[in-house]
């Protein structure tokens, strides 16, 4: 629901804070902040994005251009939830390739069917 205009009723609202010392007020501030931020942190802990997955592939030695294509291919196939880096690493282990060779093979259109068994 959109915010509706209202006058500055600070003097009424602050009544509930009046009894707090400055230190208690600061503690209340931070505890409210933690409460607001906790679900955002939990979502970040349990979710990923194309940019995160591309950043993983960058760290594994792929160029930005290669990372874009690999992640796009995995997203199309609904595979990102497994982790792009993990998929490439497992493929490399299975095929006896280096990580880089495994990624380049995918870029050439090979082995996609094996990614998640």
């Amino acid at each position: 629901m959109p915010v509706t205009p209202r006058p500055d009723d600070f003097d009424e609202r602050r009544a509930r804070l009046r009894g707090l010392s400055d230190e208690e007020l600061r503690a209340r501030f931070w505890s409210r902040v933690e409460e607001i931020v906790a679900p955002l942190v939990e979502e970040a802990r349990t979710h990923t994005t194309p940019s995160i997955e591309r950043s993983v592939l960058l760290r594994m030695g792929f160029s930005s251009l290669e990372a874009v294509d690999l992640v796009a291919g995995m997203a199309e196939r609904g595979l990102l939830g497994h982790g792009a880096g993990r998929l490439v690493l497992e493929l490399s282990a299975r095929r006896g390739l280096s990580v880089r060779e495994a990624g380049l093979a995918l870029l050439e259109g090979r082995h996609w069917e094996e990614l998640v068994r």
Binding site: R28, V37, H47, M60
Partner: protein, 731 residues
């Protein structure tokens, strides 16, 4: 790569072998605080180590050219669109005391879903790419060697490619960044979930890479209708980003709050801005403060902006500051020019040096209104947070438009920024991690099947790029036309041919700015100013600043235009300044000869300082070499000078002439020469004039032997006198 102070930065040298360039240092560097530092005639309290090379503040001339540096880091934000031109500006800024160089990104990079490669030209900023970063870092490494102080390089980890940008920054030795998911959401309309999920990964990288993070709360100041009413929300925005950053692993001392004093005069600036500055520092004790200067109320007047920014720095000093960011005084009218970046830096350091040690003498009053107002801001902020929770949390608050409302919370105007949590750019791009989700790399946030057990997640394949940088894939250029090498062709060819044009931003842009006062009513005066600029030869003149002095008596204008003139460097005539003789040589020649010199300020002129510096032994004047000086004072008659010269059998007469009304300085010089001629002593006496408007050419034209202008020392004058007398002895 090594720079020499008398040679321009060579962009080709910067670009050479970039593929193999590695940053020599990672992470943020603070200045080392020094108290009781003796510099020239002073003892300073709030300083850091001086630079090896710098350009001191103008008044330092009177204090032995000391150049004290403040204890806090000083920032300037640079972005012309061409990073190769920005490198030169960075070097100039570093010589003026900046050690935090922030590169603004090109328009639209926030919405680019991935990294940009190569070095395309930007608009209102620079496309941040690996090649651009690497070249800039390489140049900054050389610049920091030149000035003798580490330089922090900084850009933005925001937009759709935050995690990738953070990897890039960690790999390439970028030292600081902006990272705040609220910025993406509120100002770039990037999907809420995407912004926060990306941010956690980016922040984890920032944490491990040692980067300093700056948040985005200052944008609320710049956007809000009444910037001073948004202060409770600023505490909330700072806190959300801070708590989220802590959860991602960034330590408190590398989380910097970007805070701006909200107002500008004629608002009662300090009375409004101080309580906010105080409460912010109390609530966020242990974090760092990046004090930004006000942009919200900037107009085109660079003088006005400079005063506001000096007051901003005063607030920094009265509270606390770790990084003083500076705003170029022309930001209210154009993308800043070279010299205005430097001017912004100078405003901060001039203010800080002027306030040195102030905290030992004054303190903020605890018994006045400050305490109550600070408390009220925090109470309003707590009420803001509680309303977010009452609405159902952050998502619901964003959806309802709670943020950047122009009301002073709990007042609401209903004009806040509203975002659909399920909408925005890249909506639907967040994916739940499956139970087998893995990311076999370092600095990864959250659930990760690859990071179980004691081993590093990247051990399975010999290390990620953060552990083994040789694996980084460097991409040079993707566009054969839009790249730095192509852009440099013309500038380098022109430099090779010795061609020279003025510029304010990009190589040889030809832009100049002239100031005109026109004594007419405003509209007419403006038309006249533009026409006069055209007649000066300026192409497409444009009034970039106008100020009425009186509705009928006139207005002053700053007019920008392009001067389409190219000079051939080799054809320019530089007036030759004779090399000074060594002190010992002068003294060895003067002492045995018992030489007398008569001196005074002529005309109706009471200036005495300059001439005393040329004469007095304690200022390094000519007395030190053994000259016997006879100073007759100010407003001395020419006749009296010549009388004294005869009485002492002097070898020379030194006159000072500062006042120039109606060319009186010129007249005095001519009359001195004529009078000496009439008395028959011209050949015997060396006649020398000095003054701020005197040049050697002018003095000779008036019949004297030499003239000396600004910056002259006793050694210059003594060298001249001795050389002339040596010539006479030889002939």
């Amino acid at each position: 790569m090594k720079l020499s102070p008398d040679e321009k930065l060579d962009p080709l040298e910067v670009l050479r072998d970039l593929e193999h360039y590695r940053p020599r240092r990672k992470g943020w560097t603070w200045r080392r605080r020094l108290t009781h530092q003796e510099l020239g005639p002073f003892v300073l309290e709030d300083t850091s180590e001086p630079l090896a090379r710098s350009v001191p503040l103008p008044s330092a001339h009177s204090f032995g050219d000391i150049d004290p540096q403040s204890d806090c880091v000083v920032t300037t934000e640079i972005a012309s669109g061409r990073f190769e031109d920005d490198l030169r500006r960075m070097r100039m800024a570093a010589w003026h005391g900046a050690d935090h160089l922030m590169v603004i990104r090109t328009t639209g990079q926030s919405h680019f879903d991935g990294l940009i490669e190569g070095t395309p030209e930007g608009v209102g900023g620079v496309p941040i790419t690996r090649k651009q970063i690497r070249a800039t870092r390489k140049a900054l490494d050389a610049i920091e060697d030149e000035v003798g102080r580490p330089i922090n390089f900084h850009s933005y980890v925001s937009g759709l490619a935050g995690p990738e940008m953070a990897v890039l920054f960690c790999e390439e030795g970028v030292n600081g960044c902006h990272q705040d998911p609220q910025y993406n959401l509120l100002y770039r309309n990037i999907n809420l979930h995407r912004s926060f999920v990306d941010a956690a990964e980016a922040k984890r990288l920032v944490a491990d890479g040692g980067l300093l993070q700056i948040d985005g709360a200052h944008n609320a100041n710049a956007t809000a209708k009444h910037a001073w009413k948004v202060t409770p929300e600023l505490l909330v925005q700072h806190a959300i980003n801070t708590a989220f950053s802590r959860a991602a692993g960034i330590p408190a001392d590398r989380i910097a709050l970007s805070t701006v004093p909200p107002t500008a005069p004629p608002a009662p600036k300090l009375r409004l801005d101080l309580p906010y500055a105080v409460v912010l520092r109390e609530v966020f004790d242990g974090y760092r403060f990046r004090a930004q200067q006000n942009t919200r109320y900037m107009e085109s007047d660079t003088r006005e902006a400079t005063v506001t920014h000096a007051l901003d720095s005063l607030i920094s000093r009265l509270t606390s500051v770790d990084i003083q960011s500076t705003i170029a005084p022309d930001e209210g009218r154009n993308i800043p020019w070279h010299y205005n970046n430097v001017a912004g830096v100078e405003t901060a350091r001039q203010t800080f040096m002027g306030l040195d040690g102030i905290s030992e003498m004054i303190a903020l009053r605890e018994d006045g209104p400050l305490r109550g107002e600070a408390r009220a801001i925090l109470e309003r902020a707590v009420l803001f947070l509680e309303e977010i929770l009452e609405l159902g949390g952050y998502e619901a608050a964003v959806e309802s438009g709670m943020f950047v409302d122009s009301g002073h919370f709990p007042e609401r105007s209903g004009d806040g920024i509203q975002r659909d949590p399920q909408g925005g750019v890249a909506a639907g791009s967040v994916v739940a991690r499956r139970s087998d989700y893995g990311a076999p790399v370092c600095s990864h946030f959250g659930m990760n099947a690859c990071a179980r057990g004691g081993e590093k997640a990247c051990d399975a394949y010999g290390g990620c790029t953060l552990c083994n940088p040789s694996k980084i894939r460097y991409v040079d250029e993707l566009d054969p036309d839009d790249n730095v090498e192509r852009r440099l062709e013309r500038p380098l060819a022109e430099r090779g041919e010795g061609l020279l044009r003025p510029e304010v931003e990009k190589h040889g842009d030809g832009v100049v700015c002239v100031t005109l006062f026109v004594p007419e009513r405003p509209e007419l005066a403006k038309a006249a100013a533009l026409e006069l600029a055209r007649r000066m030869g300026l192409i497409e003149p444009e009034v970039i600043h106008a100020r009425v002095l009186h509705p009928a008596e006139g207005s002053v204008f700053e007019v920008r235009g392009v001067l389409n003139e190219v000079l051939q460097v080799g054809e320019l005539v530089i007036p030759e300044r004779e090399a000074r003789l060594p002190h010992t040589e002068i003294e060895a020649w003067v002492r045995p000869r018992n030489l007398h010199v008569v001196a005074g300020t002529v005309g109706e002129d009471e200036h005495s300082v300059g001439l005393r510096e040329i004469l007095d032994i304690k200022h390094g004047g000519i007395e030190r070499y053994g000259f016997r000086t006879h100073y007759l004072g100010t407003s001395v008659a020419l006749e009296d000078l010549l009388d004294a010269a005869s009485a002492h059998d002097a070898c020379g007469v030194l006159v000072s002439t500062i006042v120039t009304h109606h060319g009186v300085h010129r007249e005095s010089m001519k009359r001195l020469a004529a009078l000496a001629e009439a008395r028959g002593v011209r050949e015997r006496l060396l006649l020398v004039a000095g003054g701020t408007q005197v040049t050697d050419a002018l003095a000779r034209e008036c019949g004297l032997d030499a003239g000396f202008g600004r910056g002259t020392t006793g050694q210059d004058v003594a060298s001249f006198l001795v050389r002339r007398m040596q010539d006479r002895e030889e002939t």
